[in-house]
């Protein structure tokens, strides 16, 4: 047998050509097995392995099934008594429902925690500032309902004006200092005749 395997190995390597051995492989299941695994090894070493290796496990499954004991009839247990049989499944069901309910609760908690991401954080209540009369209303562009209805849209317009102008000023900031002045890209109106702010 050892000799045969050795010859098989040589055959796989292409060092030996033996018709007799080939016949032996055809007839001998163990040799055929070896033949297959040697080829697999060779492919592996040459990095020619297929991405999905199809190893035939049908034979093993068939063998496993064959050795499985056949169940002919269920044994009688205490559950099969008429009264107990109807009670126990109910209790079982209740247990399942309890588990389902607790999973749901856990999910709700999970979702709530998930929603409290730090992204939202900056939008929520601004810290109270000291020294301001009348207090500050925390307002964001999305959330202006704390303001009187009529003023809200006007206020939003002013806020947008400030934010836009800030962006524009940042861009022109880097322009050289000596001829730095107002440049209005988004407006055609000339601003040379700007009124002085009353003092």
């Amino acid at each position: 047998m050892t000799q045969k395997i050795e010859n098989l190995s040589a055959l796989v390597d292409g060092e030996l050509h033996d018709e007799q051995l080939l016949d032996a492989i055809k007839n001998d299941a163990e040799l055929a097995d070896k033949w297959q695994s040697y080829h697999l090894i060779r492919d592996g070493l040459r990095k020619e392995m297929a991405s999905q290796i199809n190893i035939d496990i049908a034979a093993n499954v068939a063998a496993a099934l064959a050795s499985e004991p056949a169940i002919l009839a269920p044994k009688k247990t205490w559950r099969d008594l008429p009264l107990v049989g109807s009670v126990v499944p109910f209790a079982k069901q209740g247990g399942q429902m309890a588990i389902a309910a607790s999973v749901a609760v856990a999910m709700i908690i999970g979702v709530q925690q998930y929603n409290q991401t730090d992204v939202e954080q900056p939008f929520n209540s601004a810290p109270a500032l000291l020294g301001i009369q009348g207090g500050l209303s925390p307002v964001s562009l999305e959330q202006t309902r704390t303001l009187p209805r009529a003023d809200a849209s006007e206020q939003r317009r002013v806020i947008n004006a400030y934010l836009n102008d800030h962006k524009q000023q940042l861009r022109f900031k880097a322009a050289p200092a000596d001829d730095e002045s107002e440049v209005e890209l988004y407006e055609t109106e000339q601003s040379n005749n700007v009124e002085r702010i009353p003092q």
Binding site: D13, D118, G131, A174, A175
Partner: protein, 361 residues
Amino acid sequence: MRLSSQTTLNVSRNNKFSKCIGQVTLACLMLLSFSTIGQSVSDSQDRVTVDPPSSSHTQPVKAFPSDSAHGWLEKMAYAHSHLNYSISFVLLKPGVDSQPYLWRHGVTSEGVQMEQLNLLNGPGREVVRIENKVSYFEPNVPPYSLQSSVINGPFPSEFFQQPDEIKDSYDFVMVGRSRVSGRAAQQIRIVSKDKSRFGMNVWLDQETGLMLKMNLVDLNGQLLEQIQVTACHVTEQPDDFFEKIEPAMLPEVLKLRPQSDTKAIWDIDYMPIGMVEVKRDIHRLPITGQSVEYVMLSDGLVDVSIYMRDSQNDGINQDILLRHESDTLLTLNKGTLNVTVVGKLPPETANRIASSIHLAN
């Protein structure tokens, strides 16, 4: 491989327990092949690459001392203005969709610095800088150029070029090393000296010194804004894109009107340490057309706009504090004066600045 296959099998040929060994070899081989697959996957994820290090651009970088935060920032400044790189990053801001950018930089053989910043989502915004001319291509606005040495983008360009400028206002702290964007990175924390401004965490590539990640955090350490690099390529030659630019075809530099002589009407008593007034004028706001007296404060990292106007003109005289993305907007009414402060500042600081404004004598 062919050779080793023979040796393995030759060994087994001479072995009494060849069957057993054959099985063991098979198991080993399968393990080997799986680990190779895993390796190739992780290779493809490691997208940040540095092309063959050439003496021309890695030697001077390594010359910087790497044991101090200051040395690291110098290395960063050198890398950002001398290397040829192409960086993809994503900008994350609260309440806004993430914005992917492509940022390329190249130095031609004549020593001309070129830089490009491109917003990759939507109709696109593109900024091209050639030395001191920055051209902006944006939707809804005709393209224009400005004379400037920095691009006005989502990151503090001035800081990348001259980190030294902010050393009067901020402390630099070495934090430690970690892995960012698949590369070894050095983390440096930048904290304002008087705790009046937001802090920054910067992760720099250990090898090149380029920025890999940047977090803007408030005084409690909450994340406000983040730039995360997803791919970074350093090359020996500038990107082909820069060859295609024809400097003559770029839009004209905007002629800025001479500044009208404005006398300061209002004084600002409180400014955070290191902040200086960089601009003062009177102009009209877009959208509403209100005229305002305008002052810009800057410390080299953060720019703050201050608007002052008479509050009698309209019905809005409510104090407002809001945060728009990472900008704070605060409006205060003091008698007839309406002060608005806009900028990346904690609300407390914005309030302190606004409260300190009074009529000039």
